[in-house]
């Protein structure tokens, strides 16, 4: 008899003659205290996430790439890990290339040939090759604002975009040792607990939101749910869970020594959320 059969036998024997208890799940308990008027939803999320040292920025569908560029410059991050096949990955790639084109033209007028040379030698995007410069679509809309801020940032503000386009085994060392920041999307958020919802997939793998020390996450304001119960329903998880689903509520932290809160335990030390208010 297998261990399984023996365990189940014992359990069934103990239950003999007993009834299954009724399912009296009271959903009002996990929803009603955790509902917010639409105009307060974002504020609640923001308050809770900021309380655990998350950086929150409000922006828009067209403005976020510029904001991201500014934040990367401010934090002196020179490389950004992206998922090139996602919508936001494509938008960012396109935006980067228009901005660097703009930068190059500014440069060719104002900077020494050496500066220009640096820019050309250093590819904007590596190792990705397909999503090249001048990719159209979403990039066009961003181009206007991109040109504006080009004047505020030198070309060196634009960090190299690094694409997660291969199995981790092929570049694990680089991921762990030379990837200071990443950008991922989210599938929503939860106002009640101040949590982002991520469902990593083949385009945007799991480690993107875990290994790089700084994690930028894009959140569409319209996808903020009031509570986990309603989020589970909206995402229809009961019908089929994603391979991996994550709730992320701040940067990694620990209080294992003397109850002193320390951030950056094993995962990201900084979590930066860009909320697209118009999306």
């Amino acid at each position: 008899m297998s261990a399984k059969a023996r365990i189940l036998d014992k359990l069934r024997h103990s239950l003999a003659g007993t009834e299954t208890l009724p399912d009296d799940f009271d959903e009002t308990l996990v929803t009603e205290p955790w509902r917010y008027p639409p105009e307060q939803r974002l504020a609640r999320l923001r308050e809770l996430m900021e309380a655990v040292r998350t950086e929150i920025h409000l922006t828009s569908q067209t403005q976020w790439p510029d904001l991201l560029a500014a934040l990367l410059a401010e934090k002196q991050l020179t490389r950004l890990l992206i998922a090139p096949e996602t919508d936001h990955g494509r938008q960012l790639t396109a935006h980067w290339s228009t901005r660097s084109d703009a930068s190059l033209s500014t440069l060719s007028l104002s900077l020494s040939p050496q500066g220009r040379g640096d820019r050309i030698d250093g590819p904007v995007l590596s190792p990705l090759s397909l999503e090249g410069r001048g990719a159209g679509g979403e990039g066009e809309t961003a181009a206007g604002s991109g040109t504006d801020s080009t004047q505020e940032h030198s070309p060196s503000d634009l960090p190299a975009l690094h694409a997660y386009d291969r199995p981790v085994e092929e570049w694990k060392h680089e991921l762990f040792h030379d990837t200071p920041a990443s950008l991922t999307g989210t599938v929503g958020a939860i106002a009640a607990t101040g949590s982002l919802i991520l469902c990593p997939d083949r385009h945007e793998p799991r480690l993107m939101s875990l290994v790089p020390p700084v994690h930028f996450a894009l959140l569409r304001a319209s996808t903020i749910h009031d509570n986990l119960y309603e989020a589970q329903r909206a995402l229809n998880w009961r019908a089929g869970m994603p391979t991996n689903a994550l709730l992320i509520s701040g940067p990694s932290k620990t209080a294992d020594i003397e109850q002193v809160l320390a951030y950056g335990a094993h995962g990201p030390k900084d979590l930066v959320v860009l909320i697209l208010e118009d999306a």
Binding site: S14, F25, R206, N244, K253, D256, H266, G267
Partner: protein, 479 residues
């Protein structure tokens, strides 16, 4: 890192408690930590009505799951298998370790990195793997610290809570050759640096499970540090180990349980990461483990399950609130219990895992003040269960029909006779009056030494006249 030596338990509960009580530093460390955890929990449950209703819901979810446990376990197995997760069953910790070793041998694994898992502590997995030449390293910061110091966890949520920063700093200096610093941030960054390399190198990641969802075949892991995510995502193989009681029927059941767990344990509305794993790496995915295994461990749980009162022990969601609020635990610390699970919950679980005769003092290590039962998020009546175990301890050994292994180890024929005599005297008025008369008249004959009771106290002596006699006299005089 050198392999930790097995540290035998030094002595029985009482002598360990004696030592702990004499350790001022240890008592300060625990007092401070427990006070802060109690405050945080209270603040997180500011609405008492909401708290009480949620506790009832939590209790019903767990009790309902247990009322159909075998069916749910089969449903869980079938959904996990359909999702590509391999399920293993183990009655004993030896079997569970064998399963892990077989996987490790097949994968030719040399290094295992572990997220926090109390079940793997039950299994003593670190030592068992080490005996087979496999390094098994803890990655939870607290667990890492105590593994470096060859200790057991002293708390189920805060394993290194008995140490202060100075002690950790000296440990890191001694074991890792790091420069001394009391700065907690720097100490954590040292741990991060060393363990990142270990995540990178590990062949297998081991984790526990907070909730296993039967309807979707999902393993839910709750954590703040990210080491659980690292352990379950970076290595090519992930092995989750859990007790058979951790299953819940529905995904929605997780919602109130999560809220109860994180608020009761740490006073947080939620932890940094809730990691829901339903499949290994799928075709085309670029990371995640190729193999995911779940080991379902019995280890005495089916014994607790067999008795409808003791079964409530298995409601536990391992938040640690009972120990944070326990006046005994707070004073003697987790190591005094000498077992994997300390505190009130440890006192009611451990007898099923190791046999009541191995831990006969645990059910008595309580003032029965009731705090543990009051804060339990799933309403386990811990004080009643402690009383029940005290009864099992002293009842006449009955090997064929005992509800638990090791029952009756404190049975004493003399004590039993004394109580029977007492019951007889106190339930028969005539006998009682006779006894009272002699007890008051012959009070000088009462022994002055009564074992440990009189070590620090005077022996009780009956009064010269009983209350009944005094009252009667008073009434007569005032008439």
């Amino acid at each position: 890192m050198s392999q930790p030596a097995r540290i035998p338990l030094r002595d029985e509960f009482n002598s360990r408690a004696h030592d702990a009580l004499g350790d001022a530093q240890l008592r300060r460390n625990f007092r401070g930590a427990m006070d802060s955890l109690m405050e945080k929990r209270a603040a997180a449950f500011s609405d008492a009505d909401e708290r009480e209703r949620l506790r009832t819901l939590g209790n019903h979810i767990r009790a309902r799951a247990l009322s159909r446990l075998p069916d749910l376990l089969e449903q869980l197995e079938s959904n996990l298998t359909a999702n590509g997760i391999q399920v293993h069953w183990a009655e004993t910790t030896e079997q569970a370790n064998r399963i892990v070793l077989d996987i490790a041998e097949r994968r030719q694994a040399r290094q295992v990195i572990k997220g926090k898992s109390m079940v793997s502590e039950e299994m003593d997995m670190n030592h068992v793997l080490a005996d087979h030449g496999i390094e098994c390293l803890e990655s939870d910061m607290g667990e890492y610290i105590i593994q470096l110091d060859h200790e057991k966890p002293s708390h189920i949520i805060m394993p290194a809570i008995h140490k202060n920063a100075d002690q950790v700093a000296r440990l890191f200096e001694r074991e890792l050759g790091e420069p001394y610093t009391r700065d907690v941030n720097q100490l954590i960054q040292t741990g991060r640096r060393i363990l990142r390399q270990k995540f990178f190198d590990a062949d297998i990641g081991v984790s526990g499970v907070n909730f296993a969802v039967a309807e979707t075949g999902t393993l839910v892991l709750v954590e703040n540090e990210g080491n659980g995510r690292m352990s379950t995502t970076v290595p090519k193989v992930h092995i989750a180990v859990t007790g058979i009681e951790k299953v819940v029927a529905h995904l929605r059941d997780v919602v109130p349980l999560l809220s109860l767990l994180t608020r009761s344990a740490l006073g947080q509305p939620i932890t940094t990461y809730i990691n829901m794993i339903s499949r290994p790496r799928q075709a085309g995915e670029r990371d995640g483990p190729e193999e995911v295994h779940l080991v379902l461990l019995d280890n005495g749980r089916s014994q607790a399950f067999a008795d409808s009162e003791l079964r409530q022990t298995l409601n536990c969601i391992r938040c640690g609130a009972c120990m944070n609020h326990c006046p005994v635990y707070t004073r003697v610390g987790g190591h005094t219990y000498g077992e994997v699970y300390p505190g009130p919950i440890g006192a009611i679980i451990t007898p099923h895992l190791v046999g009541l005769d191995k831990v006969p003092d645990h059910p008595s290590a309580s003032s029965l003040c009731g705090a543990c039962g009051e804060v339990c998020p799933v309403r386990i009546p811990i004080p009643s269960l402690l009383r029940r175990l005290r009864e099992e301890n002293v009842s006449r050994p009955d090997p064929g029909h005992a509800v638990m292994r090791g029952q009756g180890s404190k049975y004493s024929a003399l004590e039993s006779t004394v109580w029977t005599l007492w019951r007889t005297l106190y339930t028969r008025p005539l006998l009682y009056r006779l006894f009272r008369f002699f007890a008051t008249r012959l009070r000088a004959l009462t022994p002055s030494r009564l074992g440990p009771w009189t070590e620090h106290r005077g022996a009780p002596k009956p009064a010269a006249r009983s209350l009944h006699e005094l009252a009667r006299k008073h009434l007569e005089q005032s008439r």
